[in-house]
């Protein structure tokens, strides 16, 4: 290379760089700096199955929000990490979102257990966190910056006690998965059932990774319960349903909390799923603000019908958008005060908090598998089909 060509290359390179940086600067000026929203959701590990849905609610809403012009006239950028279903990893990721990624707002992770760990990070950094996947109210003890955006666990299966009372059932057996939210579901149902005069004839806690239910069902069988309830996730709801069938335990009502509403439950059990009751926090047929548009947008982006986890994530973004619009800024203290006092209509119901940041507006519903189809059956006012009882 001669000296002249070397100079030419150098000058050329410099020219290109100048033009490029000028263009970059111009394009930056044209579109304002995006608002960054950060969260971590389990996409691997034990919570991955539901976590995959949870994250879709956030993503779908951000897409729609940007199509409408974003938030405060700025586009919205969503940063989602995978916490591998580990509370410790989640804590690390939220610290990183706040101190390294400098996100403007954080949203809650999946599961009560992980939210409980992460809530402390939000509190310490004085950051607002809307938590759409922490149903256990215990998470919101002594929190000032965390807000429950999901039906509290205490409400999940409480209506099973009402139905049992109406039908004149006398005895109940409880299988309790030993996690914060499933334990809370069981405790609330137990208290309500006992208040209605039902007798708890069997109650057993078991670890989340249990897969053999034969010994527990054998012990429960001897108590001949009218009502059998499991506060479960997917694998144990399937395992318990099978084992009850194998040992010919035939209660008049069989209900589980989380698990039954998932399509995998029916796929795993086939006809055995029929008659089983599960709880849900959202349903496509409910008349809620923007519900039809939500279902249509989900179908367009992902295909099929959303699960309630998609809906609660989506609803959390509805709350955030309304709160930011009302506040007019992303100032965390102002935003916190707005959310604490506000009522918002969302696809999962009317968002309203008590003084401790716990959700009191959202409700729980019951669904039942009937002839291979999932039907909303409770409360009767919104039911798609009448409740089919007794079970078998």
């Amino acid at each position: 290379m001669t000296r002249r060509t070397r100079v030419a290359v150098l000058v050329g390179t410099l020219l290109v760089l100048t033009v490029a940086s000028a263009t970059a600067a111009r394009s930056e000026r044209r579109s304002p700096k995006p608002i960054r929203i950060g969260a971590s959701i389990s996409q691997t590990g034990v919570y991955a199955g539901v976590g995959q849905y949870a994250v879709r609610g956030y993503r779908l809403y951000v897409d729609l929000l940007n199509a409408r012009g974003g938030l405060l006239g700025r586009p919205v950028q969503l940063i989602v990490y995978d916490d591998q279903s580990s509370p410790a990893t989640a804590v690390r990721l939220y610290s990183r979102l706040i101190s390294e990624d400098h996100v403007d707002v954080i949203l809650g992770p999946y599961s009560s257990a992980i939210t409980q760990a992460v809530a402390a990070v939000a509190e310490k950094n004085r950051r607002v966190m809307i938590d759409p996947f922490a149903a256990a109210s215990v998470v919101f003890t002594d929190t000032k910056w965390n807000f429950q955006a999901i039906t509290a666990s205490e409400r999940y299966l409480a209506s099973v006690a009402d139905i049992s009372k109406l039908r004149g059932y006398k005895t109940m057996a409880l299988f309790v998965n030993n996690t914060p939210s499933t334990s809370a579901i069981a405790a609330a149902l137990k208290a309500r059932a006992q208040a209605f005069g039902l007798k708890i004839v069997y109650e057993q806690k078991y670890p989340n990774d249990a897969s053999d239910f034969s010994s527990m069902v054998l012990a429960a069988k001897a108590t001949h319960p009218d009502v059998v309830v499991g506060t479960t996730y997917v694998p144990d709801s399937v395992g318990l349903t099978r084992e009850l069938n194998r040992q010919a335990v035939r209660p008049k009502l069989l209900a589980f909390s989380i698990g039954v509403v998932e399509p995998e439950y029916e796929k795993a059990l086939g006809p055995l799923a029929n008659g089983v009751i599960g709880n849900t926090l959202w349903w496509p047929s409910l008349r809620r603000e923007g519900n039809a548009a939500f279902v249509a947008a989900y179908k367009a982006k992902y295909g099929g019908t959303p699960t309630y986890q998609v809906a609660t994530g989506y609803a959390a973004m509805q709350v955030l958008e309304q709160a930011v619009a009302k506040t007019g800024s992303l100032d965390q203290t102002k935003l916190r005060d707005t959310i604490a006092a506000m009522r918002a209509n969302t696809v999962t119901g009317s968002f309203r908090l008590d003084a401790g940041g716990r959700q009191v507006g959202y409700k729980s519903y019951l669904m039942q598998w009937q002839g291979g189809k999932a039907r909303l059956v409770w409360p009767p006012k919104v039911a798609e089909a009448p409740l089919e009882l007794p079970y078998r």
Binding site: Y206, S215, A268
Partner: protein, 288 residues
């Protein structure tokens, strides 16, 4: 009657454990490595069987005839292309192979999560029970245990009476000795790993009928299989059967009398006890 029922449940659970552990045991016996990807093979084969059922309505028992040969080929390739490349021998070689299969297990879990998703899947098949007097016999576990017994018998006959089986045992007893007798030990290692993978696949086909499975649980089944194999004395084929039944029975009785929390830690408590008191396994002085 409860005691009899618990004994039946324990025996059947043991059958499932033996089914899961056999492949791991064979690989350990011959190659002296714990295949950390074993449990992932089980789960992935189970999920393939699920898909075959969902898409083509293929009966999971028929699907064993599809996944077992398929995983035989996968295992053979893995051994020839990756594991065989580790040239170190002795403790160093064993450690490197262990690390390799550990790494592979991570890769397989994440690939499987991409392909199958992370949801717990299971098949609506053999969901009932046989009823004899007041006793109930879990159909899916009965089939799993029967398959485990058949495979164990076939393995035993092969290892003790057939030339290639004897060569495998020779390789497991002494590499140098086997080589000096003209045995192609490289081929034997490939055969062992392929068969081990194939046995894992057979276990997976039954497991997806017994309980919901998801890719992220793969390592749990490696650990469970390892406990069974360690109970019997690593690489001891008859010992593994005893270990499996012992473990299943302990869980069945423990679950009933001491509760499900105890049931789930029992495998590890028992393993710790065995490792402290009888590190050679339950069966003393048994021929390998």
């Amino acid at each position: 009657m409860i005691l009899v029922q618990l004994a039946i449940n324990g025996l059947l659970l043991g059958g499932l454990y033996l089914l899961m552990a056999q492949g791991l045991n064979l690989v350990f016996g011959v190659m002296k490595i714990v295949n950390f990807a074993h449990g992932v093979f089980i789960v992935v084969a189970g999920l393939v069987v699920y898909r075959l059922y969902e898409a083509y309505g293929i009966n999971p028992l028929v699907a064993v005839a599809i996944v077992a040969p398929a995983f035989f080929v996968v295992g053979a390739l893995l051994q020839r292309v990756l594991i065989e490349r580790i040239t170190a021998v002795g403790t160093e070689g064993e450690l490197l192979s262990l690390m390799l299969t550990y790494g592979l297990s991570y890769i397989f879990i994440n690939v499987a999560t991409r392909v199958f998703g992370a949801k717990y899947l299971s098949l609506p098949y053999l969901q009932s029970s046989l009823k004899i007097a007041s006793l109930t016999i879990n159909e899916s576990l009965l089939v799993a245990s029967t398959l485990a017994a058949l495979l164990a018998a076939a393995l035993y006959v092969w290892l003790t009476h057939m030339p290639s089986g004897k060569q495998i045992r020779a390789t497991s007893q002494s590499r140098i000795g086997a080589i000096s007798c003209g045995i192609d030990t490289r081929r034997m290692r490939m055969l062992a790993f392929a068969l081990g993978s194939s046995l894992a696949a057979a276990a997976g086909a039954l497991l997806v009928v017994v309980q919901p499975v998801a890719p992220q649980d793969g390592s749990d089944f490696t650990v469970l299989s390892f406990v069974v194999v360690a109970l019997g004395g690593l690489g001891n084929y008859a010992g593994a059967a005893i270990g499996a039944v012992l473990l299943g029975s302990a869980q069945s009785y423990g679950g009933y009398y001491l509760g499900p929390n105890v049931e789930n830690v029992l495998p590890f408590v028992i393993m710790l006890g065995i490792m402290l008191l009888r590190p050679q396994g339950l069966q003393p002085g048994a021929a390998r």
